[in-house]
């Protein structure tokens, strides 16, 4: 016992023994190993698919401010201060400063006007070509909430708004529909609802969350220009608002809504008058969905894995039984119980680890292949792919291997204990 230094894992005899023991039981070893292989393979695939879905959605959301919310107006549903229910109302320019003053936790407060839309009557004309697009009147800040990628020219600026310039930014689809591919759109004019605007930029969306219609089918005008050009008075259709760092968007939303209701004489308990969507809440829902998927993945994966490991324990039991006499000989010439148990556990760990590693490897390989296909699809312009970069992270892989080694050891320990519990002479006598 005292001089066991060398006779460890790295002794070639040990490995020879392992290989020959497994070789003798080829089919059984294979089937058992397959159980473990399949368990880990499934775990990887499921974890990868879950992650891919998560990546797809998170990525699709892009850099949209997740602490943002949007408020629009709807008919009132409660009478209040002498005003009847069912009243139409709208926000005003003055609300911007009002919100900033009364709810200091609000960071960006940016108003928007919008009209038109895909499928409606055509509202945009360029020579012979016409189209029906979403028209949005914005401040440059809007892009801080919902960033866009400028592919040509520029985005809106403050001077555009201040001087009520007749300029517009168009989505890529509009460029494709109204221009030839080799045409330069910057400096060209579009007639939108009867008014001419000069194109100063082309953009495409980063996020696939769309507010007031698909971004790539939208035309962006300076807010002030749109308000004047189409006689909106001092109306605002929708507010995009973010919470200051350290504040919850939901709380800020409550406060802003309460303040606006107060200002516009809306009953505090009127839940219909303000239409709203809070991205923070949406993302929380998503992340609990992802957690759910992950938990499910692990339950199913570990269950499958466990079945595989129990299989390994079983085959080890059979192998040990078939080798009873051999183990008897080993013990007669001086193998201590510890040596015997160590050897059997090593065999079992070897079997599970090799099988598991193979499962891990092939699983990751498959995910990689799938990823390549997705990337190719994305490159060829397929939109709305909701799975992106299915992958398993390093932690998951390490966790899997750890589970495998530990369970392999346990799977080996049970039959090993049995092997040394019988008397050496009974082992030798075994025919």
């Amino acid at each position: 016992m005292e001089v066991q230094g060398e006779a460890t894992m790295f002794d070639i005899d040990r490995w020879k023994e392992i290989i020959s023991a497994l070789k003798k039981n080829k089919l059984r070893s294979f089937l058992t190993a397959f159980g473990v292989f399949w368990g880990i393979f499934m775990l990887i695939i499921m974890a990868g698919a879950g992650k891919g879905l998560e990546n797809g959605i998170t990525d699709g959301v892009g850099q949209i401010a997740t602490n943002s919310f949007f408020l629009w107006t709807q008919r009132t549903s409660e009478p209040y201060k002498g005003l009847r229910r069912g009243r139409w109302w709208s926000y005003e320019n003055e609300d911007v400063d009002f919100i900033r003053k009364n709810v200091p936790e609000a960071d960006i407060v940016t108003p928007r006007l919008f009209s038109g839309g895909g499928g409606g009557t055509s509202n945009t004309v360029r020579g012979e070509r016409t189209g029906s697009y979403y028209i949005k009147g914005d401040y440059p800040e809007w892009a801080k909430i919902d960033p866009v990628e400028v592919t040509n020219g520029r985005w809106l600026n403050n001077v555009d708004v201040m001087q009520r310039r007749k300029v517009c930014i168009i989505g890529e689809t509009i460029f494709k529909e109204l221009f030839d591919a080799d045409e330069e759109p910057i400096g060209e004019y579009l007639r939108i609802n009867g008014v001419y605007y000069q194109i100063v930029g082309v953009i495409k969306p980063i996020s696939n969350i769309n507010i007031n219609g698909r971004t790539e089918e939208s035309i962006f005008l300076p807010f002030s220009t749109m308000q004047i050009a189409y006689n909106y008075g001092n109306q605002v259709h929708i507010f995009g608002i973010t919470a200051k760092p350290g504040h919850s968007a939901s709380t800020v939303e409550e406060k802003v809504m309460a303040a606006l209701k107060e200002r516009h004489k809306i009953a505090p308990n009127d839940v219909q008058a303000i239409g709203h969507i809070n991205l923070e809440k949406q993302f929380k829902q998503f992340s609990s969905l992802f957690t759910g998927i992950q938990i499910l993945t692990w339950i199913v994966g570990i269950g499958t894995l466990l079945a595989g490991v129990i299989g390994v324990s079983n085959i080890m039991l059979v192998i040990i039984k078939e080798r009873t006499q051999e183990i008897g000989v080993m013990r007669a010439i001086g193998a201590t119980p510890r040596k015997v148990i160590g050897q059997i556990i090593l065999e079992s760990v070897f079997l599970t680890t090799v099988a598991g590693y193979l499962g891990l490897f092939l699983g990751v390989l498959l995910l990689e292949g799938f990823n390549k296909i997705l990337e190719m699809a994305a490159a060829s312009g397929s939109q709305d792919i909701f799975i992106k970069q299915p992958e398993v992270n390093f932690t998951v892989a390490v966790a899997c291997l750890t589970i495998l080694i530990v369970s392999g050891a346990i799977a080996g320990y049970i039959p090993a204990r049995r092997a040394v519990q019988i008397k050496p002479i009974d082992a030798l006598r075994d025919e």
Partner: protein, 241 residues
């Protein structure tokens, strides 16, 4: 070297018990060459297994090299088997997937000797038994006599004080049997105590002391002068060599 006092051993099965050894008292000194005889089922193997600490006994005492062998932990038993005892079996019991050299080296593996060193030592022992060129052969490529010689080399490599052999020639033809006995004799002359179980008189006749088991006790103990006549009466067989 070995002292047994009033040793008892019974086997218990589900339905009944079988009292196999009914009080064996015995002294075997260092360097003796002893054979155990008796009819089939008389308990020869049982006795040898107890001596080899492969099996336990019920009553009495067993001292090996001055130490009482009783209720020994499997770990200690393994140590004794490894360092003090050497085993030779009727069916050779070589490990089928190890070649001759690796089989011989195995006891040293359990002592923690490095692979290189134990293989060198194993080759020395194989050489001693005239099997050097068979070192790389697997057991199934060896004849019975060769297998038994590999087993003897394996028993010798850990330099045991006692070699226990249960019918070492039982599976061999007469001539090979005699060759194996010659080897054992030589080993014995180097001072190693040897105890063999046999039911062949000519084999027993080559040892110095014959213990005959009968009805669970020692029926006859043939030594010295008696041995000479015993040997004579089986000289015929020996002469056929």
């Amino acid at each position: 070297m070995i002292t047994l006092k009033n040793l008892h051993k019974s086997y218990f099965t589900a339905s009944n018990s079988l009292h196999v050894l009914k009080g064996i008292s015995l002294d075997i000194h260092q360097g003796e060459f002893v054979s155990v005889m008796g009819s089939s089922g008389s308990g020869k193997s049982t006795l040898l297994n107890i001596l080899g600490i492969l099996d336990s006994y019920d009553k009495g005492s067993y001292h090996l090299d001055g130490k009482l062998i009783q209720n020994m932990s499997e770990k200690n038993a393994a140590k004794y088997r490894n360092e003090t005892l050497g085993f030779i079996f009727q069916s050779f019991n070589l490990i089928s997937f190890k070649n001759a050299m690796e089989n011989v080296a195995l006891p040293l593996y359990y002592q923690g000797v490095s692979r290189k060193k134990r293989n060198v030592t194993a080759l020395e022992y194989l050489d001693k038994l005239g099997l050097l060129e068979w070192a790389e052969h697997m057991p199934n490529e060896l004849s019975g006599g060769q297998k038994q010689r590999v087993a003897i080399a394996r028993a010798l490599i850990s330099k045991p004080k006692v070699i226990l052999a249960d019918e070492p020639t039982g599976a061999l033809d007469t001539q090979t049997s005699y060759e194996v006995m010659e080897i054992l004799k030589e080993i014995n002359q180097e001072g190693i105590t040897i105890i063999i179980v046999t039911h062949e008189h000519d084999i027993a006749a080559m040892t110095d002391k014959i213990i005959k088991l009968r009805d669970g006790v020692i029926g006859d103990l043939i030594i010295n002068g008696d041995l000479a006549s015993f040997k004579k009466s089986y000289a015929k067989n020996v002469a056929t060599l």
